[in-house]
Symmetry: C2
Subunit: 420 residues, 2 copies
Amino acid sequence: MNLPSVRSLAEQARRARTKLALSSDAARRRLLEAIAEALCASAPTILAANEDDLIAASSRGMSEAMLDRSRLDRRRLDGVVEDLRRVAKLPDPLAAQEAVRVLPNGLRIHRRRVPLGVIGVIYEARPNVTVDVAGLALRSGNAVILRGGSETLATNRALIAAIHEGLRGEGFEAALVAFVDRSDRESVEELISLEGLVDLLIPRGGESLQRLCRERSRIPVLTGGIGICHLYVHPSADLERALAVIENAKTQRPTVCNALDTLLVDRMVSAGFLPRVVERLGALGVRFRADPQAQELLGGIPGVEPAGPGDFDREWLSLVLGLKVVDGIDEALAHIARHGSGHSDGILAEDREAIARFLAEVDSAAVYANASTRFTDGGEFGLGAEVAVSTERIHARGPVGLEGLTTYKWVVEGEYHCRR
Amino acid sequence: MNLPSVRSLAEQARRARTKLALSSDAARRRLLEAIAEALCASAPTILAANEDDLIAASSRGMSEAMLDRSRLDRRRLDGVVEDLRRVAKLPDPLAAQEAVRVLPNGLRIHRRRVPLGVIGVIYEARPNVTVDVAGLALRSGNAVILRGGSETLATNRALIAAIHEGLRGEGFEAALVAFVDRSDRESVEELISLEGLVDLLIPRGGESLQRLCRERSRIPVLTGGIGICHLYVHPSADLERALAVIENAKTQRPTVCNALDTLLVDRMVSAGFLPRVVERLGALGVRFRADPQAQELLGGIPGVEPAGPGDFDREWLSLVLGLKVVDGIDEALAHIARHGSGHSDGILAEDREAIARFLAEVDSAAVYANASTRFTDGGEFGLGAEVAVSTERIHARGPVGLEGLTTYKWVVEGEYHCRR
C-alpha cells in the first residue's frame, strides 16, 4: 500500500480547515454527534480491532499495565463516546468577543476567538486519546494530525474510520482528522519538521519525545504530563481527613502524572502523623522513601527506606511515596520551588493565612487547598476533556481543553481612519 | 571590569522576581512612577550618553535612518516617560480571577493571573524599547533581561541606571531589570541557552535573529514584527476616502512592519482607480511594482515597473508599493492567504457582506475594515505600549502588552476532597 506522506496529510488538512473554521456552532455540534453515532455503530469492529492489538502486544510480551492502558472494552468505548457528546454540548469556544471597545478616535476594536489551525499530536497506547483529541480539535474548528503508538494501530484505524464516516456524513473532508498510519520514527521526524503547515505540536509521551520536539522542531510545542506533585500537611490540618486525601492522591491511580510523589509534613505534627501515614498507606502496598528526619521517626518499619539522592526529584508513577519533615511553611514552599515540576501541589490546613500564602506563592499549574492533586484533569475541571495537562507557562497551563486550541485575532473597523 | 555572566544575571533575576510577583497593584504602580521620576532626574546624563552614542555611530558611518532610530532627544525621552506613566495607570494585569465556579462536587475553582516569570528581550537600536519593555515587565510582575544593540550601549547604561535607582528607591532589587552590558554575539547565545531560568524569549530584530532563537533555543519564543501587509479595494469602497487610507498606510511611516506592502484593487474599479493611486502616492515619492494587469493600465508611467518574482512576498520597509488587480474578493482572499505574513490586512468597502467575509476569512493578527494598517500598535490599541507585535498563533497575537506577559494558575479549594 502506498501511504501518503505526512506532509501531504498536513497540506490536505490545511486546505480542509477553512470550511470548518468558518462553520457555525450548530454545525460543529452536529459533527461531533455524528462521530459519536458512527463510533457506536462501529463498536463491534473497533472492539475486535482492539482485541487483535492486545493479542499481538501480549505475544510481544507487553506488560499487564501497558496492556490495560491499551485496552478498549465496551464500557471504556461508551465512556469515550459520552465524553465526545459532552464536548459537543460545551459552549462554542469560537463565540467569544473579547476586549470590545471604541477607541477615542472612533475605531471599533475587538478580539475574536479563532482556531489555532492544524494541531499535530503524538501519543502512545491509550486509544481514547484518538477520539478525545479529534473531538476537542473539531469542536474548536481545528484540523488535527494524529500519530498514535504502534501498540494500538489497528484500534486507531478503526476509530479513525468511524471519525471519517462522521465527517463525510456532515459534509466535511476526512482530511480534517489525518491519521499517520505508520509507527516508525521517521513519521514523527517528518511531522515535527512541518513548520508552516502545523501550528502546534502536542507530544503526549515520555521525556525523550518531549525533548525531541523541543530540540528539533521550530513549531511551538505544548508539553506536559510530567508531574512531581506535593502535599504539605500544615499543623492546623484536620489530620484524619488529611490522611484520606493523602491516600487518595497516592493510591487512587498511582500511574498518572497528577498522583502524589512527595508528602511534606510539618515538624509540629510529624511525630504523631507520619506513623499513621505509613500504617494506612503501607496497608495498601505503598512503600516509602524517607528523608533523615522522617527516617528517625519511622526507622525499622517495613516498607520505609532512606531516600536516596534524587528521590525527591522523581515522578514515581507507582506506589512509592517520598516523605519529608519540614520546618514550617517556609521550608515547604522552598522544597516545592526547588523540586516541583510546576504541575499540581497542595496544602492541607485549616489556617486561612497559611492557605492563602501557599496558594499565592506556589507557582504551579494547579495549586490546591484541602483536595487531592488527582483532580488536575480536564474532565474534573469541567472542560469536557483535555488534549494535555500543560506544564508550559505560555499559551495554556494545566488541563488544556477547547480554549487552549484557539487563538484570537484583532478586528478593527473604522470610517476610512488614518493614523496621525 | 569583570562583568557578570548572563547566567548569573538570570539567576539573580529569578530570585528577585518572587517579591515583585507577590507585590500589590499599588506597589507596582508606585514603582513605575518612581522609575519615571528617576528618568526625568537623569535626563541630562541620558541625553549626553545618547549624544556620545550618536557621535561614535556616525563616525562608524551609520546611515541617517539608523541614526534617527537611535536618537533620544528631550522630546522623545519625555514621550518615553509619558508612556511609562500611562502603563503605571493601566488596570492591574494580575487582578483578574477567571472562570470562577463551584464544581458539582463542591470544589471551588478559579484561574488566577500570574506573571510569566523572567523574560529575555533581544533588540537593536531604538532606546525607547529599554524603558517600554522594563515598564511592561515590572507592571505585570515579571523580571526581565535586556540585551540591547551596540549602537546605543551608553544610552542604555544611563537608562538602566535610572531604572535601577527607581527599583532600589521602592525597596526592590535592581536585578529585576538585568542588563547584558555587552554587545557580542556570545551574550545572545548564552541568553538563549538559559532554559529553566528564562521563561520567554522576545527577539525584536531581523529574521536572522528570530531564526537563531527558534532553531537554537528550547525556550519558548515570541517573534513578530515582520509584516507583509495588504489592503484590498472592493468595488463598493468610497474611492476618494480609500485613497487617503492607502496613502496613510504606505507613507505615514514606511520603515515599520505595519506599513502597507501590497495594494489589491478589484478589477471592477481598477481602470479608474489605479492611475489615481499612482498619481497621488507617486507625488510623495512612492515607486510601484505592478502585476501584468496593473502594468497594462499603468505602463509607461514613471515610477511604475513590472513586479519581479517574489515582489509580492516582500516586506518593503520603504516607499515601494506592490500593485495587483484581482478578480473579486475570492482572488483577494487567496492572494493574502498565500502571500501574507499574518500581520495586518484590510478591506476598503461599503458592502457589509464583503466586509464581514473579509474580517472572518483573513487569518491575520489584525484585520481591518476601512482603516489604515498602521494602527496595529500597542499604544494605538489602548495597551499602553507593547513588547512586540506577535505574528505567533499561540500565547499572544498582534500587539503584546501587559496581558501577554502573564499566565494563569488554577486555584482549587476543597473540604478534603478526594477523587472517585
